[in-house]
């Protein structure tokens, strides 16, 4: 398949990072950046190719977090199996939210608001329901064995999240060069014209939503395994919805590598700010906002789109 070589090169280059440094600071930074890239990759499939701007990808991320954590802690399910079920649960939530909003014909800002509302409803439920640990949150018991999806060092985590990002890159690339991808973009551009050409718009959008939700939920599952603690604000909080859309928009919404590039830039800026301002809370968000304004004003197709235009 075309376009696999650049993915292979970039992923191979990134895979050497743990061999070059054993600094926990660097690895931790990279793991979080890749996690945001993965979540952003999920968002981009729906937002970039499908033109459906979700403000509530936390709904899928959080479902991944909670399902994998609760299955382990309350039902003794193996972490890897919990990981898979978490992804499936995220996809299911995507199917439900997608079905309800697309059936009602919600588009544009209305779709954005409804997804935001769903995520907030889930956050509030998670902050009071006993099964999620309510306000206390859920702690995954420390069990540093690979069978339990926990590792002594950060390197295996790094490689796992990198593998997930690589998988999502290949998947999105494959979709881009498929009939489904063509239909998805046709629906984004003009739904009526697409329907006249035989495109089942509802089904196409729903499928995009489900895949998008599954990818984002995988990020949530990983988050829970990596940090071993979640609460309602982490899992379903607006922060992840914002990160999910910032990375692809800043990186380049219509490009395969956009979310990865965007996540690295955003995270680097965030860390840099913390260094300069000495961890003043919220200042990294101010920087995000500033960068977003600059990108929207001067590079509407993101950094990747901007570089492409300069080169071409």
């Amino acid at each position: 398949m075309r376009g696999l070589a650049p993915i292979a090169v970039i992923v191979a280059a990134l895979a050497t990072v743990p061999l070059l440094t054993s600094s926990n600071v660097v690895l931790n930074f990279m793991v979080v950046a890749l996690l945001i890239a993965l979540v952003g990759q999920g968002w981009k499939l729906l937002g970039g190719y499908g033109g459906q701007y979700s403000f509530g990808h936390a709904a899928f991320f959080g479902t991944g977090c909670y399902v994998t954590a609760i299955l382990q802690m309350r039902y003794g399910v193996n972490a890897w199996i919990g990981f898979c079920i978490g992804i499936a649960a995220g996809a299911l939530v995507g199917a439900v939210i997608g079905f309800l909003s697309f059936r009602s014909g919600l588009r544009g800002s209305y779709f954005a608001l409804v997804t935001l509302a769903f995520a907030e409803v889930l956050r509030i439920i998670a902050s009071v329901a006993p099964i999620t640990g309510a306000g206390v949150g859920t702690l995954i018991r420390l069990d540093l064995r690979p069978e339990a999806f926990q590792f002594q060092s950060r390197a295996p985590f790094y490689w796992i999240i990198l593998a997930l990002v690589a998988l999502s890159l290949v998947l999105v690339r494959a979709i881009e060069h498929s009939r489904f991808g063509a239909y998805l973009m046709a629906v984004r551009e003009n739904e009526d014209a697409a329907r006249a050409l035989g495109v089942d718009a509802m089904r196409t959008k729903l499928a995009a939503m489900i895949i998008s939700a599954a990818i984002t939920a995988a990020g949530g599952c990983f988050y829970a395994q990596y940090f071993l603690f979640i609460d309602a604000g982490i899992a379903y909080g607006p922060w992840i919805s914002v990160e999910a859309l910032l990375a692809p928009i800043i990186g380049g919404i219509g490009t395969v590598f956009g979310p990865l590039l965007g996540a690295l830039v955003v995270k680097t800026l965030g860390e840099f700010t913390k260094l300069v301002t000495g961890d003043a809370p919220g200042l990294d968000l101010v920087i995000y906002g500033g960068v977003l304004v600059l990108v929207v004003a001067f590079a509407p197709r993101g950094i990747a789109g901007f570089l492409e235009r300069r080169r071409g």
Binding site: A182, M185, A186, A196, G198
Partner: protein, 250 residues
């Protein structure tokens, strides 16, 4: 007589208190070009929208190939072989001409490569071959009309509904387009066209239906329609027929 591919029987469309289409009936014979003409606001596009599933039929039946199709969604009708163009062109703006046409071609060709290749062939047929890798937004009005046609053709339809594909074109562009439509018909595709450019209707259509204020007021060969007093009056107002036809004879 040829086999009837589409039969619209006493179809009405009500928008609240407004009766946009009032018990209209028409037929399209297989392999022929049928024209639907009428003054602005007569309900032509509404009738098209009902045939293609974009609007629900309030009353009446639509039979395609003998089977009732009213109530089926547009994408399913497209799969049955009914394609349409839009009066106001609806290109996929951020895609290239080739990608635009490929969306239509995908209906029968799941493979990306196949669809893109087929898009190239269809583009040659409608005269867009030089534009294939340009963005759809770079096309002129005439080019966008051709693109509408190409996308619909790429679905390999049996019945093609053309909603004013000649509107907005200059005389030389119309001269270029007329043979394209004829070639499509010669390829075995049944065509129903809404058209205001009478010169084209006269030279292309084998049968003409006239819609006025939601009703079919006349049908027949193009020549018979042009001399029909009711049609002249529908366009030019009461009394116009007497003056015009009288002047022609006197």
């Amino acid at each position: 007589m040829a086999e009837t591919l589409l039969r619209v029987e006493d179809v009405s469309k009500r928008f609240g208190g407004l009766l946009a289409v009032n018990r209209a009936s028409l037929t399209a014979e297989a392999g022929r070009i049928t024209a639907l003409i009428g003054p602005n606001g007569a309900g032509k596009t509404t009738l098209f929208a009902m045939i293609t599933g974009f609007l629900a039929v309030s009353e009446g039946r639509v039979l395609y190939d003998g089977a009732p199709i009213a109530g089926e969604p547009p994408h399913r009708l497209a799969r049955r072989g009914i394609a349409r163009t839009f009066q106001i062109v609806q290109p996929f703006s951020n895609l290239t001409v080739r990608e635009n046409i490929a969306v239509g071609a995908h209906l029968n060709r799941p493979g990306r490569g196949d669809a893109l290749a087929a898009a190239g062939e269809v583009a040659r047929m409608v005269g867009l071959a030089d534009m294939l890798d340009r963005p759809a937004t770079s096309l002129t009005v005439a080019g966008r009309k051709r693109l509408e046609l190409a996308r619909a053709l790429a679905t390999r339809p049996r019945l093609l509904l053309l909603d004013e594909v000649l509107a907005g074109l200059n005389p030389s562009e119309i001269r270029d387009m007329v043979p394209v439509i004829r070639t499509i018909r010669d390829g075995g595709i049944t065509i129903i066209m809404i058209e205001h450019v009478m010169q084209a209707v006269m030279s292309l259509a084998e049968h003409v239906f006239v819609l006025s204020e939601g009703r079919i007021i006349a049908e027949g060969s193009p020549q018979a329609i042009a001399g029909n007093p009711r049609v002249v009056e529908a366009y030019l107002g009461r009394g116009a027929a007497n003056r015009m036809l009288g002047a022609a004879h006197g």
